[in-house]
Symmetry: C2
Subunit: 154 residues, 2 copies
DNA sequence: CAGAATAATTTAACATGTTAAGTAAATAAT
DNA sequence: ATTATTTACTTAACATGTTAAATTATTCTG
């Protein structure tokens, strides 16, 4: 845990001490625990993320969903097609703005989420047992602060 | 910054309070600052990451490089082809193990890194000015601890 | 109200992510 | 030593990431 000094000049930091790579490696390390579950149930990471956000938010338009799930609009278009074909989401037009696509989870989609929830929570507990739930809480707090500080509207 | 209680049962957390999504959103927020620079110089995020790791490690075999850069082997195969065509990396065979591909930065690749370093460091400083370098240091420390705790060899 | 500008989404094209299968070299087991 | 297994990498196929252009609906301007 040796701290590197802040770069005074214009040098690059060790990759381990840069936010983009450190955050990526951390996420990969965490996802390694979840991927077997997703693969077992034939959903991609992105499809699962879209469904998790819909479960949380209810009916939303495509742009907002894309932002929340960190998925670009063109990817979301294809993902929605897949999820709709599988009966997991329902798509409609916004009656007050014909440009917008509204999306929500279907009953089947909601059931699918709830079917995987116990296994997902169990994996999360396994991770918590290795890191400590307190430390995870701290990390999530720090990330919330970072997101607030970097949000574009500031 | 209201803390959620640890899930006692089998419910899913708010997406904001899950490591996979929180880490992803944080990384996207950070990368939004770097992407214009990379686009301006016609390198993808992954190509740049490969070069950053090579700059740090010197000559390494493809498997190790893939792990360090969080890139899967098939993607790396294609990325190496692109970077080699552009003259940024040099590829050779390991004489003591004919299966292994060895890779290192070329002189041009090294120059390219150094050419972008100042702008990259400046962007990093801009981010630091919004979050605080101390807080970033704490976050990076927490991530190092997480990576150590989740490393498979434990 | 008509035409211009803007906005939300989709399509297209290429790079990468991901899994499975294939190839070649090294190692292990008879 | 020959065969089988393992290892490192590549190829193939499809999903997603990414940018630019196209499409359709809305809003702005005159």
């Amino acid at each position: 845990m040796t701290k590197q000094p802040t770069r005074a000049g214009m040098e690059l930091s060790q990759t381990q001490r840069t936010l983009p790579i450190a955050l990526l490696r951390a996420r990969e390390a965490v996802m390694d625990y979840f991927r077997p579950l997703l693969a077992e149930h034939d959903v991609t990471e992105q499809q699962w993320r879209v469904m998790r956000v819909l479960d949380e938010l209810g009916t939303v338009d495509a742009s907002f969903l894309a932002r929340q799930a960190c998925i670009l609009a063109p990817s979301l278009t294809r993902i929605m097609r897949t999820l709709e074909a599988r009966g997991f989401v329902e798509v409609s037009r916004d009656s007050s703005d014909g440009r917008r696509t509204l999306v929500c989870l279907s009953k089947e989609g909601s059931q699918f989420i709830r079917k995987l929830a116990p296994a997902s929570a169990k994996i999360y507990q396994d991770i918590e047992s290795k890191i400590g739930s307190e430390r995870i809480g701290t990390l999530l707090d720090e990330i919330e602060i970072l997101l607030e500080a970097l949000s574009p509207e500031k």
